[in-house]
């Protein structure tokens, strides 16, 4: 565990110095701050619009950061040969992959937490009170980020940074519309083969929509604890499985 943590710490230091991290964080913070202006024009529902916009920013910004950082970490180490002295140590390839994933997750979490803090301050100033649901919504946004970061890290063990970023982004889009779109395709499929193909795609894709607690936050709906536990477990298992596949591939990779 110490070795994984050391690699994660190094990855965090490396990622937090990347321009893409600073630019994306600043961009999202600007949009979050700008959402105040937008909500001013829509009296009555301004708080709902503010929450909707800010939460969208956190979810989308977190996902893009996870893709940008997760898909470049390992390939950059291979290309710049910073990987060599590390894997020449008694460090398993799986430990290295998990360390890089954790480093990415910690970096994105830092960005997401800054965004969530600014969001929290804005909500406080609008409703003159703290929204207790906000930390929970942020936590589940981080779980979505973890799944995306795991996917990007795993794909980057077999593909170039550009390819893995594009593929992960596509999976992110498909995972976000999975229930509505792919669920509908299965229902509408007439042939058995098509139904089977759609089913495989449906089950292989992550269900990212389940981590999105934006609607509950905006409308102050209650979310059953059992559902939250189930979603958390699903996220954990999906990320672990994807990382397992990535580690398995990286263990045999010639560097």
């Amino acid at each position: 565990m110490t070795k994984i943590w050391t690699i994660a710490k190094m990855s965090l230091l490396e990622n937090s110095r990347k321009q893409v991290f600073h630019v994306l964080c600043l961009l999202m913070l600007t949009v979050i701050a700008g959402s105040v202006l937008l909500s001013i024009f829509t009296d009555g529902t301004k708080l709902k619009i503010l929450k909707d916009l800010c939460m969208t920013c956190i979810l989308f910004g977190g996902a893009v950061l996870a893709i940008a950082l997760g898909s470049t970490g390992i390939p950059n180490d291979v290309e710049q040969r910073t990987l060599y002295p590390i894997i020449a140590r008694p460090v398993g390839r799986a430990q290295y992959v998990v360390g890089k994933f954790l480093g990415t997750l910690l970096t994105v979490s830092m960005g997401v937490l800054v965004m969530a803090t600014v969001f929290g301050v804005l909500v406080y100033s609008f409703q003159h009170g703290f929204d207790k649901f906000l930390p929970l919504a942020t936590l589940f946004a981080l779980m979505e980020v973890a799944v995306i970061a795991a996917l990007a890290t795993a794909i980057s063990t077999i593909a170039t940074p550009a390819v893995s970023a594009v593929v992960t982004f596509l999976v992110y889009i498909c995972g976000t519309i999975k229930i509505g779109y792919f669920g509908g395709l299965i229902e509408q499929a007439t042939s058995g083969a098509a139904k089977a193909v759609y089913s495989v795609v449906y089950h292989a894709l992550p269900n990212l929509e389940c981590f999105n607690l934006k609607t509950a936050l905006v409308h102050s709906d209650k979310v059953p604890i059992a559902y939250l536990v189930q979603v958390a477990l699903y996220g954990l298992c999906y990320a672990a499985f994807v990382l397992f596949l990535g580690s398995l591939n990286f263990a045999r990779k010639e560097v």
């Binding site: 050391t6 040969r81 060599y84 002295p85 140590r89 008694p90 460090v91 010639e254």
Partner: protein, 304 residues
């Protein structure tokens, strides 16, 4: 106790290009590195030296054959806990300081947590970096970065050091210090596997050498046994003109024209014939000497 390093018919074939054409980078390599020696691994570019090192460190998998480190297969993590590795041109994250790089590698090498900083500083001092412990890598020269690499290789107190071009980027003083450091490490009982192009360095410190050519080993043994046992005669004479040069060429003489003299290297059997020819063209003899083949000459003979 098992050999620090042993390879048996180690072979690596890469599939190159879109057509996946096979290219044998290493062909049935058999080497034995006894404990406590400095082993020089020589070969021209593309001979398979780096591939061999990559196989030893499990960066790539062999097509056939095997390699062991102190009896452990190279695929085992236990083998890598006994190794310190210096890559050719080591790269570290530029924002880190040498002390941070060493501390990280100490953790990865399994050094006791309480000892990490002390060990890191001691290794940096041994590598001649006392004044640069807190300087970011980005501000260090190539030679100083190479020294960080050397310190990184010894931080885990390994029993076997695999060094790929350790003197690369070092100035003459640095090379001298490196040679002393390697000899000190050898005296401490470490085994050193040294891949280098600096043949004079290898000749002066290595107990055993292996020469690789196009993936095959062409010679292995003590530097003395690799060099040809026959000696040759070296004659220093005055600078010569083109006519004299043509005349001597017929006598199978190796001619090295220098600014203030000419050095003729000849087979001892041809000495009288050459001397006669020199007399005919009135060439003076400044100095005459016998010389044994150097490791560099042996390398050129074996690997060129």
């Amino acid at each position: 106790m098992s050999q620090p390093l042993l390879t048996e018919n180690l072979t690596k074939t890469y599939q190159l290009g879109k057509k996946k054409l096979p290219k044998t980078a290493l062909d049935s390599l058999n080497i034995e590195v006894p404990e406590g020696i400095i082993f020089g691994f020589l070969g021209p570019n593309g001979a398979g030296k780096t591939t061999t090192i990559k196989l030893m460190l499990d960066f790539v998998q062999p097509t056939s054959g095997s390699a062991t480190i102190f009896g452990h297969p190279t695929t085992a993590s236990s083998a890598r806990s006994l190794i310190g590795y210096l890559p050719e041109q080591p790269y570290f994250h530029k924002f880190l300081k040498p002390i941070e790089v060493l501390s990280m590698h100490a953790v990865l090498a399994g050094v006791d947590r309480r000892e990490i900083r002390k060990r890191a500083i001691s290794c940096l001092e041994r590598a001649g970096l006392s004044d640069y412990i807190e300087t970011p890598i980005a501000k260090l020269s190539k030679g100083l970065t190479q020294r960080v690499g050397i310190a990184q290789a010894i931080v885990g107190d390994p029993k076997l050091l695999i060094l790929d071009e350790p003197a690369s980027g070092l100035d003459p003083i640095g090379r001298h210090q490196m040679r002393d450091l390697l000899l000190d490490l050898k005296n401490e009982g470490k085994t050193i596997f040294l891949s280098s192009h600096l043949l004079s360095e290898v000749e002066s410190i290595c107990d055993k050498v292996a020469v690789l050519k196009k993936g095959k080993m062409v010679a292995m043994g003590a530097p003395d046994s690799v060099r040809s046992s026959s000696s040759h005669v070296v004659i220093h004479t005055s600078p010569i003109d083109q006519d004299m040069l043509e005349r001597l060429r017929f006598l199978n003489v190796s001619i090295n024209r220098q600014s203030d003299c000419t050095v003729l290297t000849i087979d001892p059997k041809a000495i009288y014939e050459v001397m006669r020819a020199m007399e005919e063209i009135h060439l003076p003899v400044y100095k005459i000497d016998t010389q044994r083949e150097s490791l560099e000459e042996a390398f050129l003979r074996l690997a060129a």
